[in-house]
Amino acid sequence: MNLFKKIIPILSAVLAIAVQILVPRSSLHPQSKPYFTYVLIGILSVYLIFFIASFRSKKLNEKLVYRGYFIGGVILFFNILNLLTAKLALLPILYFPSLDRVFGVMAEEYDVLIKCILYSLRLLGLGIFFGALIGIITGICLGFSKSFSYWISPVIRILGPIPSTAWIPLVLISFPSAVSASAFLVGLAVWFPTTLMTSSGISNIQNSYFEISGTLGAGHLYQVFKVGIPAAMPNMFLGLFNGICSSFITLVTAEMIGAKYGIGWYINWQKEMLSYANVYAGLIIIAVLFSVLITLLFRVRDRFLNWQKGVIKW
C-alpha cells in the first residue's frame, strides 16, 4: 500500500507524458516546442531520484508516502489542463494558453524573468524586514503600554484597512525614489497584521505568568523580554505569516509605481499586452517564491518554538 502511494506520482507523470506525446495538438493553438514535456521529464527524474533514495532513508520514505497522492494529483491536474487547452482547445484560447507556451515563456525569457525576480526579492526583502521589525516593536508597545495603546490603537484601526492602491498618490510625493515608495507599501502590508497579532498575543498571556515572575524577582523590563515576548512568539509568527501573505498581494500594486523590473511589474505589463502565457508564467513564479519564503518562515519558527511541539498545533 505504501509502495503504491509512492508509485502514484510516477504513474501520473508517465500518463501525462504519454498524453503529451500521443494526443495531437489542436490546430487552434500555435506551434511551440514541447516545453511541458521537458518539465514533466524533469519532475519525473527528480522524483525518481528521491524514490530510489527513499529505500535507504526512513524519513524520506515517510515523506514520499505522505505526499504521494498530492504530487500525483497535482500532475494529474496539469495533465487535464493540458488536455483541455492545447489538445482539445475546449477553453478560450486567448485566456488559456497551452502549458507548452507558459513554460516556454520561462525558458525563452529567463533573462528578463530572473532580473524581475531579483528586483521583486529586493523589494520584498526591504518591505518585509522593516514592516516586520516595526510591526513587532509597535505590537510590543501596544501590548505593554496603556498610554501608547490609548493613542496609537485608533490610528492603527484607521490605517490598517486602507487598500494599498489608495496610498499610491501620497506615497509618490512623500518618498524620494520609486524603490523606497514601493518598499513602503509592501512594508505597510506586513506591518499591519504583525502589529495586530503581536499585541493581541501579548494581551492574551495568562496573567499568572507575570505574577509568578514578579514573585521571582523579575523587574518590569525583564518581564517584557523574558515573559511577554516568548509567550507571544507563536502569535508573532502568525502575524508574520499573514504579513508575508499580504506583502505578496501588495507586490503587484507596489510595482505599479515607477518600477523598471519586478514580477508584479511584469505581470501588469503582460496583462496589458494580452499575453496571458506570460502572465501565467509570472504567477507561477510568484507562487513558487511565496511557498519558498513561507517554508523558510516555518523553518525559523520550528527553530524558535520547538517548545511548542505538542502544546499548540497550527
Binding site: 495568562q206 499568572s208 505568568y209 505574577e211 509568578i212 515572575s213 514578579g214 514573585t215 521571582l216 524577582g217 523579575a218 523587574g219 525583564y222 523574558k226 515573559v227 516568548p230 509567550a231 512568539m233 518554538l305 517548545w307 511548542q308 505538542g310 502544546v311
Partner: protein, 259 residues
C-alpha cells in the same frame, strides 16, 4: 533569615461584574512568626487566595497594613515566593531554565548556579532538566515549580492549593518534601488548602476562615510532634474540631469526607 508577617486589620474589596461591592476580606488580623507553617482553610470564595495574594504583594489592601519583618508589603518580591495551584511553569523554558529564572532575573545566576541543580535534585527531577513542562506529569511540574519558588531562598513561601490537582500518593510525597525543606531552611510557609488532613499534617497553626462576612473563624494550634501519623487519635481529634468549625461536624465519622 527571618520572616515575620503581621497582618493588621486587612480589608479588601472587589467590584463584582454588576458593579456591586464585594467585601472579600473584612478586617483580618494575623501574626505569623518566623519559620512558622500556617494553613488557611475555609469554604470556597471566603478570601483565602485574596489574603495570600495580599501577602505576596500581587494586590493591595483597601484598608489596614501588611508587613514582612516590619517593612510594608508594596509589590511582589523575591522575598516572598509564590506557588499556584496549577504549576504556571513557563512553557517556553525547559525545567532547568524555569528553575533558574528567578536567579537570572536577579542577576545572581553566576554565583548561585549550583543551587539550581541542588533544588532540582531535591524535588527529585534530576535527569529531567532538558524536558519541557508539557513533557512532564502534573506532579512533576508541581515539583518543578516548588523548586523554582525555593531556589532563591525566599523568607516566606506562599502556597495556593499547591497540591490540589494531584493524586493522593503524589500529594503525600510532596507534603513530606515540603516538611523536609522547611526543616532544612527554616522558612515561613503559608498554605491555602481544602484538605483538612493536609493542613493538620503540615501546620503549626490552622486558620479556619468563614465566608460572608469573610473573617477568621478560629486559629487552631496543632501541638503534635513531627512526623505526624494521620491515624493517630490526637490527629483525628484536631480533624473533628476543624471539620466542626467548617460546619461539617456531623460527618465526622465518615473518614473519607473532605471539603
Amino acid at each position: 533569615m527571618v520572616g515575620e508577617i503581621i497582618i493588621d486589620n486587612a480589608v479588601k474589596k472587589f467590584m463584582s461584574a454588576d458593579g456591586d461591592e464585594v467585601v472579600a476580606l473584612n478586617g483580618i488580623n494575623l501574626d505569623i512568626k518566623p519559620g512558622e507553617f500556617v494553613s488557611l482553610i475555609g469554604p470556597s470564595g471566603c478570601g483565602k487566595s485574596t489574603l495570600l495574594r495580599l501577602i505576596a504583594g500581587l494586590i493591595f489592601p483597601d484598608g489596614g497594613r501588611l508587613t514582612l519583618d516590619g517593612k510594608e508589603i508594596k509589590k511582589p518580591d523575591c522575598e516572598r515566593g509564590f506557588m499556584f495551584q496549577n504549576h504556571t511553569l513557563f512553557p517556553w523554558l525547559n525545567i532547568y531554565d524555569n528553575v533558574a529564572f528567578g536567579l537570572r532575573a536577579r542577576k545572581i545566576y553566576k554565583e548561585k548556579k549550583h543551587n539550581v541543580d541542588e533544588y532540582i535534585e531535591l524535588v527529585g527531577l534530576k535527569g529531567f532538566e532538558r524536558s519541557y513542562p508539557h513533557q512532564l506529569s502534573g506532579g512533576m511540574c508541581q515539583r518543578a515549580s516548588l523548586a523554582r519558588a525555593l531556589v532563591g531562598h525566599p523568607k516566606v513561601l506562599l502556597l495556593d492549593e499547591p497540591l490540589g490537582a494531584l493524586d493522593a500518593f503524589t500529594r503525600m510525597n510532596i507534603q513530606d518534601e515540603i516538611l523536609r525543606i522547611r526543616k532544612e531552611h527554616n522558612m515561613t510557609m503559608i498554605m491555602v488548602t481544602h484538605d483538612v488532613d493536609e493542613a493538620i499534617y503540615l501546620s503549626d497553626r490552622v486558620v479556619v476562615m468563614s465566608a460572608r462576612p469573610a473573617k477568621i473563624e478560629k486559629v487552631v494550634s496543632i501541638e503534635l510532634a513531627h512526623p505526624r501519623a494521620r491515624s493517630n487519635p490526637e490527629f483525628l481529634k484536631y480533624r473533628g474540631e476543624i471539620l466542626k468549625l467548617l460546619n461539617y461536624g456531623g460527618k465526622i465519622t465518615e473518614l473519607e469526607y473532605y471539603l
